[in-house]
């Protein structure tokens, strides 16, 4: 069930009404309703993978309790590693087995041996990377004595499978979400309206920006050999806005939906394309994953405590793992590697925490220096996205080399120039609103609050209508594949 589908438009009000009108007297029933709805939501993709989700939930619930009750540290570590091995094992089988099998076959083929790799013909269970990471953070936090194991199975299951975050995050922490699930929730008008506003903005990002950009990005990337450098550059820019609109749009809908149920999820995006360096970009892009890697990989590896060499090594490790987390393809690994290279200057010169505030805070216009920094950072991310989007590494290099050819200076060759211009216009409007609202949790949070009420309502109406009118062919959310 996609967030931008008719099914979800029916599902959400039903669950909302049941939640606040039927089960509102008891927290237990409210949580049970959330669990059943979440399983229904997940089962709409493929009910068979529900068993995997339930198994993963049971595993972490049980190992969590065992760790809590363990008589000594050794026993505790045993249960931790059992949970980690099984979780990573499942992820490995479903997501990475075919990649390793075919890569091994290709590698030995280079040595002159022929091996027929035995590959699995299974589809990747949607959201597996996200709920596996939920579970892992839970058991690691128990091991580190940051939290106590949850004894209520329903509450723990809601933490793992709460439907707004189940298939594409944000990757929640037990320390943040579980206390909210355990606490009685009351309806808050302001929070609910804010939630609706965030859903609307998320839908606009997904349907109007991402899906429109996707049509051109797909057409250009799929036939990159036939296009000029300028068209390929345009294709890369379209993909840059597509992936931002798609994923941050999804996160906004997830956060907004959770707010309707009185739950606050972790913020996942904070206007990353306004970053002044790559370190800032990674503090603003997919925040819940970056902070997960920081807390559960970078810091346990020694973080930045062991001097420059240690910092460089650990930075490369987390970017490579992050790339690999996105998918079993060399393109993602190179994408991670590129980002590690891009962030290196600020790591080496210790400037990675220079830009902690929002650009041009309290001002409308940025300074010349800020504009140049933002443009450089944006250009670097565009280059990295080419690897992320390409089908294989060869295509990415060809694509990139063609951009930097003479044909970069000819007019772009597009079949549907009219729709292309409309999309460019929409992206500009979108970025303007994002810029104006960049100091808020999401761009629309306070946008237009000083306008007359009727004008603001008309603005929301225009956004709503544009979501319907510009809904083209429904595109899957990109991050569902991860």
């Amino acid at each position: 069930m996609l967030f931008n589908s008719l099914n979800f438009a029916i599902f959400l009000p039903i669950v909302f009404l049941l939640y606040w009108f039927v089960t509102n007297k008891s927290l237990k029933y409210q949580n049970l309703l959330l669990l059943v709805s979440s399983y229904f939501f997940y089962g709409c993709w493929d009910w068979r993978f529900l068993f995997l989700l339930i198994f993963s939930t049971l595993l972490d619930y049980y190992t969590g309790l065992k760790m809590q009750d363990a008589p000594n540290k050794k026993r505790k570590a045993f249960w931790l590693w059992l949970s980690i091995s099984i979780n990573i094992g499942f992820l490995g089988i479903f997501k990475y087995y075919n990649f390793f099998a075919t890569s091994f076959a290709e590698a030995v083929a280079n040595l002159g041996w022929h091996v027929d790799p035995w590959t699995l013909k299974v589809i990747l269970p949607v959201g597996i990377s996200f709920y596996t990471f939920h579970g892992l953070s839970y058991v690691i936090d128990i091991y580190k004595d940051r939290i106590k194991a949850e004894r209520n199975f329903i509450e723990y299951s809601v933490f793992v499978s709460f439907f707004p975050l189940l298939v594409a995050g944000p990757i929640e922490r037990a320390t943040h979400l579980l206390p909210q699930i355990k606490k009685a929730r009351t309806f808050d008008y302001t929070r609910a309206v804010d939630g609706l506003r965030q859903i609307l903005w998320g839908l606009f990002k997904k349907v109007v920006i991402a899906d429109q950009c996707a049509e051109f990005a797909n057409a250009i990337f799929n036939n990159y050999a036939d296009h000029s450098g300028s068209t390929l550059l345009l294709g890369a820019l379209f993909f840059t806005f597509q992936i931002y609109g798609d994923f941050s749009g999804y996160s906004d809908i997830a956060l907004g939906t959770a707010r309707l149920f009185g739950i606050d999820l972790l913020r996942n995006f904070a206007f990353p394309y306004f970053s002044r360096d790559i370190a800032e970009f990674w503090r603003r892009w997919h925040i819940s994953l970056s902070s997960w890697f920081k807390d559960y990989l970078y810091i346990p590896l020694g973080g930045s405590k062991g001097g420059t060499w240690m910092k460089v090594r650990n930075t490369f490790i987390i970017f490579l793992v992050s790339g690999f987390w996105h998918g079993a393809n060399w393109t993602f690994i190179i994408w991670g590697l590129l980002n590690a290279l891009f962030i290196m200057p600020s790591i080496l010169f210790n400037t990675n925490r220079n830009n902690l505030d929002m650009v041009a805070q309290g001002r409308v216009f940025p300074s010349f220096r800020e504009i140049i920094s933002m443009m450089i950072t944006f250009s670097l991310t565009v280059v990295a996205w080419i690897f992320f989007r390409a089908d294989n590494v060869t295509q990415a290099f060809h694509y990139l080399s063609k951009i930097f050819s003479k044909s970069l200076f000819v007019a772009p060759d597009l079949i549907n120039a009219r729709d292309c211009l409309i999309t460019v216009f929409l992206v500009l409007v979108f970025m303007f609103i994002e810029w104006m609202g960049r100091e808020q949790q999401f761009a629309l949070a306070r946008f237009g609050f000083k306008w007359p009420r009727l004008l603001r309502l008309a603005f929301y109406l225009i956004l709503t209508i544009s979501v319907f009118i510009l809904a083209g062919k429904q595109q899957q959310f990109i991050y569902f594949q991860f």
Binding site: S5, L6, W20, F187, Y189, A192, V193, L196, R418, L457, Y460, L461, T464, I465, F468, I469, L470, A471, G472, K473, Q474
Partner: protein
């Protein structure tokens, strides 16, 4: 909570009302300004899908306009014909492609409410589609219909803002350059080795598209316009796969009164086909020249037209 629900409900209501308003406003403006007008000299037209679109080069046949369009079913052909006939009273003859794949129920029904077809054709013709026909689309695929309706609003307003009401472009002769028939024939012969002939007449009663062909024929009859069913040339390898007896039986059952001009066996070389079902520009040029000669020699005056065609069929 009451305040939240009331305001949300009102906002949704206003949004839906605005969308409906925009839908009807856009459609009504485009309906009034739609331009289907051809040159006064055009007295005969052909409609259908990609087969006639690639076969009839209307620059070779005088006073003739090819109005076919790839993938267009009779469902979308009906509103188009209504407009063409009402804006071009000089038209006296309508040729309608009727070929083997029109009897393939699934393909044809998909051509009406399948995702890609509905999203392509509904936004184009929505200003002219009657409520009952739109209801059929809603019944058969509510999701696609809602999507197509939303795209339709965008399309109509783009026409309005650009003042471009030209609907003649949704019908044309398609100059097909490709020439892949040799490889296609070889591939098909391999795959057909042990395959039985295709059953093409699968439950014609539930083939909605045929119902719309009947309505097009009736529309022409009401206006006193002569109608012919036409089958464009197809490659022999394609013809061999189809069950000719079933096609003939279905045609006679459905349209016994309508004259059928069958060009299916018109001989073309592999290099004159774009693929097994479509002539390329070389084939179209040769075929259209031959059809033009047939018309000049009195094809439409002949008592037995098929005999007339067969007697002049090149060997």
């Amino acid at each position: 909570m009451k305040r939240f629900l009331t305001k949300t409900f009102l906002f949704i209501l206003v949004s839906i009302a605005s969308l409906c308003g925009l839908y009807f406003l856009g459609n009504s403006i485009v309906r009034k300004k739609a331009d289907f007008k051809f040159d006064r000299s055009v007295t005969s037209v052909i409609i259908g899908h990609s087969h006639p679109e690639c076969a009839f080069d209307d620059s070779i046949i005088p006073n003739f306009k090819n109005c076919s369009y790839s993938g267009e079913s009779y469902f979308y052909g009906l509103p188009k014909m209504k407009n063409i006939l009402s804006q071009n009273p000089q038209i006296k003859t309508v040729f309608i492609e009727f070929t083997d794949n029109h009897l393939e129920k699934k393909v044809m029904n998909d051509g009406i409410w399948g995702e890609s077809h509905m999203l392509n054709f509904y936004p184009t013709y929505s200003p002219f589609i009657e409520a009952a026909d739109a209801e059929l689309l809603l019944q058969k695929s509510d999701r696609n219909f809602l999507l197509a309706s939303s795209i339709s609003i965008k399309e109509q307003f783009l026409k309005i803002f650009s003042s471009n009401y030209n609907f003649r472009k949704y019908g044309r002769y398609l100059y097909l350059e490709r020439d892949k028939t040799d490889s296609l024939v070889a591939q098909q012969q391999r795959s057909l080795a042990n395959k039985p002939k295709e059953i093409i007449n699968n439950n014609i009663d539930s083939n909605y598209n045929i119902g719309y062909l009947t309505r097009i024929i009736n529309l022409c009859a009401e206006k006193g316009i002569k109608t012919y069913l036409v089958r464009s040339p197809q490659h022999k390898a394609y013809r061999d796969q189809k069950n000719e007896a079933e096609f003939e039986a279905a045609r006679l059952k459905l349209f016994p009164e309508i004259e059928f001009l069958d060009f299916n066996n018109y001989p073309c070389l592999n290099s004159e086909f774009g693929d097994l079902e479509h002539l390329n520009y070389r084939g179209a040029r040769k075929f259209s020249t031959w059809v033009n000669n047939l018309i000049n020699d009195g094809l439409l005056m002949a008592a037995n037209k098929q005999e007339f065609i067969n007697s002049r069929m090149p060997q």
